[in-house]
Symmetry: C2
Subunit: 343 residues, 2 copies
């Protein structure tokens, strides 16, 4: 239930440009210019105004500033799941770049729920100058609607109405499939992610194609919620496919699958090879450590904000910014078992 935020007595009045104008003996507009319009005022008065501002501890009121300009100086970052380590890499990168340019960053998660994502974007719209949508679950139309309100940059999602920052998983995925094939795996199982995930579709299509080229079978299991629980719950189904290797949509699911396999006294990679994507915190100390694909998520978060800034500065440069990924081979992948289940 939203609220009015109106009750307690207002805090002590803060210092305004009027205070510094009076102190220096100039008009408020001169003070304003001295503070924010380099060169539009004489060097001398600019200096005096700035000193007075510092002395008085002046801080511009962002709301007052936003009113005439229409610019709030804040950017909204919407992430699917803030507890997924993938998110905070992005958040960290975005936040650093935002601070660098003087933006305030508002981060909000939508818990994989596209309805919530859309409503959150619309309710935030008047408070922000632009959106960064990370791992959006929205369709193109919904993104277009948001883009009509404010500029949008997407991460790991391509969309006609937004600038996109993408990780290119294709080479690493192909290398992974090739490696698995070389290890004797002739039946792969892709443990799919959420239905509305753009990356999920991409990943599967690359795996399917790469497997086909190598003469390896690939089956898809899903969609699934991208959680540990879902990964664990899928163990039986994975085994039922007869696949000797499971490629999970992401590390969180892979870890779920891995721990379920451990609990079931299955050998990894003896009985089943498992891989993930993202190289999150934790994937290097599972038992065995998880083979995965690493993306420069922090850089991508930074890039997203940089593109937002460019867009807000009037630089029209819609398009795609792609980042390379890297296959990280670890202990969870090994040779296919000799005796196959469905021999």
């Amino acid at each position: 239930m939203p609220n009015d935020h109106s009750a307690s007595p207002p805090p002590a009045r803060r210092v305004t440009i009027y205070d510094i104008a009076k102190r220096v003996g100039v008009s408020p507009s001169t003070a304003s210019r001295a503070l924010h319009k380099p060169g539009r005022v004489s060097k001398a008065t600019e200096e005096r105004v700035k000193q007075a501002a510092a002395a008085l501890g002046y801080r511009a009121n962002p709301a007052a500033r936003a009113l005439p300009t229409g610019r709030t100086g804040t950017i909204a970052l919407l992430v699917a799941d803030i507890t997924n380590p993938v998110s905070f890499e992005i958040v960290r990168g975005a936040e650093r770049e935002a601070e660098k340019h003087g933006y305030v960053l508002v981060t909000s998660e939508f818990r994989e729920d596209h309805a919530k994502e859309a409503s959150r974007a619309h309710s935030l719209a008047p408070s922000v100058d632009a959106f960064v949508l990370a791992s959006s679950r929205l369709d193109d139309e919904a993104i277009a609607k948001i883009a009509a309100l404010n500029p949008v940059v997407t991460i790991n999602r391509e969309s006609p109405s937004a600038f996109s920052v993408l990780a290119d998983h294709e080479p690493a995925l192909r290398e992974l499939v090739r490696t698995l094939a070389a290890e004797g795996h002739d039946r792969l199982c892709y443990l799919a992610g959420p239905e509305s995930s753009w990356t999920d579709a991409r990943r599967w299509s690359v795996i399917e194609a790469a497997a086909g080229e190598r003469g390896v079978e690939a089956v898809r299991l899903g969609p699934n919620r991208p959680t540990r629980k879902a990964g664990s719950a899928a163990l039986e189904a994975v085994r039922a496919t007869g696949a000797s290797a499971a490629l999970a949509y992401n590390d969180v699911m892979a870890i779920g699958l891995l721990t379920a396999a451990r609990d079931a006294r299955l050998s990894v990679p003896g009985d089943l090879s498992i891989t993930g994507i993202d190289d999150i915190f934790g994937s290097d100390f599972t038992a065995p450590p998880l083979t995965t694909i690493a993306a420069p998520l922090e850089d991508m978060g930074t890039a997203a904000v940089r593109h937002v800034h460019a867009a807000l500065s009037g630089e029209r440069e819609p398009g795609i910014d792609t980042y390379p990924t890297q296959l990280v081979m670890r202990g969870s992948v090994g040779p296919a078992p000799r005796t196959k289940g469905k021999k």
Copy 2:
């Protein structure tokens, strides 16, 4: 380098209360009241105004609202390290409660740097109504300065000028020390956290006292940065203390220590028992799984925002809100080795 955020043409004009006032045939102030002052307007016109607002797709301009009221409707949450899983539990809880009350939540990390924490708070101050400081590294004086600007609620930090939300680790820590003593450990090593951490000081004093009561030696190693790397780097020093059990400041450090021990071919808990605090993502699937102490961090995040809301609503209720914790025994703790290093 901060920036002016002023360049591209302003987006299409949004609908204002004037638009809906004109449409309904009332004055703007009536429209304003109908929208936000329940009861101060006739039921009939309130209904008509609301319908018009909906029809026009009206969204209040937060900046315009903030100007006369001095209330921005946003809350700042400052966390030490956003990549520490501890943080996002808090963030998630805080965010949910913030949304429930119609606040926007701004999350910012200060990377364990107290100077950055303070400067961030001061620069955010004009844009927000209140602060939540999670795991603050600030001293009381610095917190008081911030509290002079806006109400402050601290998490895991007691301070005279703020309402505090705390996890009470004492009972669980005592139980842990008791358990270790019963397992034959007669020399414990506390792997300390950051110097300016309030919780670090608390934890050590409880461990020291509990150990003393049990006739167990306790040595303190630190301060250390609360990172995996620092945990790993401390292995040698921990061994050098001759302790048979290491209690780390938090799980992140404990995991660092654990993986270093594994790399050094040490048996855990055979040669060394290891414990952490927080029960973060990952601590249940280390090898062996990590004994730790769990706190209801999400609830604490929620509580912090609830208290912020109370403070902003004029309810003066400074004080402390304490949450219980729970010892989670897992495989990383076992009997002390027979042959002690310094026998």
